[in-house]
Symmetry: C2
Subunit: 265 residues, 2 copies
């Protein structure tokens, strides 16, 4: 983990969440709290909860569910002792599929009928990749991971439908097999890649222009490798247009109290 | 798989389901359709579906969900092209948590508000155990696997609560590690053991008297190894008392069109 120079790399999740809650941290969380899992967030009114939970069951690679809150309860009790409305650095508010607000505190938007879904994040397997000797370009370049909307349709459930969002890490061919085997052990944080090679084959027109996050350098001879991404629920929200939704802003995750190593089989 | 002498071992799932549908097969399905996954069934009215799906999410070892039907639809479309009301050899009908009927055809009990949950079965990892050189006693003795109600409380969800049911395979100490690693690769069919050793530690008073299935021989020096079991939903139904439920009879599974090898990570 010598590549991790984040100033919060060695702080505890509880300490960093406290700073986030106080508004002292509002940026993206990659590299914070070494060894602890981070999670994506999608909050929906109770009337959509069954459809979304079934959507997640049918699409476990983009939507591996780590915790579901009780309706109306802002507090999580399983993966983190956290207030979901305040403990993420940046939130996005959607109404009928349209992004209407981006805020650092979602308490003012909270309602008694909201259910929070916390979804595994590929940040959790990046330490495994590094351990396996696989370079992670966006960490090397100190950027947010590049993410793309694909033409891979998810298996729909009720009103929920949409295409898969993927994250991309460019790899030399010699590291691809190790990247597959290292991530295979972690199905709760997206598991194995969904695509290796030509971006156009999954509907990505320009790999230099990600739909979320930031572009990274792809060196000559390197192959782009794509993993299912927990930003997929935002693509689903935009396509399915529920009356209301709160998500994390891409890259701005919930830092959990669960060690990455516990997410292995 | 030389130990498998079941007369239907080499038939296709579709052919065996047709015989089950016609009432020609009414017994337990262990050993049928070599290489194809079998599944546990729990059918509940739509009003309980969210609570049960969340219960399964919170308890993935006993309740790894393979498919959820649309409400009222008897047909499955993902793991098998099957009619869920007729293609299982034996069903149990529960009303308010009480077993009221055991039938070989559930069509007469079908209603427009029923949702079917198909759950992974440890039969799927037994071929992996045999491949890894691990003996499976109940196959050797041509019996149904012994299953026990434990004192391990599942994580509740809404009205759903109850204790875990486990299946048991006695192993010589030299085979336990291989049994753990072989099943670790298959989290969608219960994955690794939940307990190794003293049955009393998980509330089993007499290992010779299983609550479901049949007892098997435990030789001197062998250790009982326990895996989470898909009969757990029946324990949940008995504890949570939904107004109505249909389950498979223990050991009488849905034979799916999915190869066991596809349930690996």
């Amino acid at each position: 983990m010598s590549q991790n120079t984040n100033p919060y790399a060695d702080e505890s999740p509880a300490a960093v969440r406290k700073k986030i809650r106080a508004g002292k941290i509002t940026g993206q969380t990659s590299g914070m709290c070494n060894g602890f899992a981070q999670a994506n967030l999608i909050v929906l009114p109770r009337e959509y909860a069954y459809d979304f939970l079934l959507f997640a069951q049918r699409n476990p690679k983009p939507c591996p569910v780590l915790e579901v809150s009780e309706a109306g309860d802002r507090l999580l009790h399983r993966i983190a002792q956290a207030d979901i409305a305040t403990d993420i650095p940046k939130y996005r508010i959607y109404r009928h599929g349209v992004l209407t607000d981006e805020v650092t505190d979602a308490a003012a938007f909270w309602r008694g009928d909201l259910v929070s879904f916390l979804i595994g994040c590929s940040f959790s397997f990046e330490s495994e990749l590094l351990e396996a000797g696989v370079a992670v370009r966006h960490i090397e370049e100190n950027r947010n991971v590049p993410m793309y909307l694909t033409n891979l349709a998810c298996d729909p459930a009720g009103v929920m439908h949409g295409n898969m969002v993927v994250s991309m890490r460019p790899l030399p061919p010699s590291q691809i097999v190790r990247a597959v085997t290292a991530t295979a052990a972690m199905p709760r944080v997206h598991g194995t890649p969904v695509h290796i090679g030509d971006p156009a084959a999954i509907g990505i027109r320009d790999v230099a222009k990600p739909d979320f996050g930031e572009p990274v350098t792809i060196n000559p001879g390197e192959t782009p490798v794509f993993w299912a991404c927990g930003v997929t629920p935002q693509s689903v929200v935009m396509a399915s247009k529920p009356s209301f939704a709160i998500t994390h802003a891409p890259g701005h995750m919930l830092i959990t109290d669960v060690r990455n190593s516990l997410l292995k089989n």
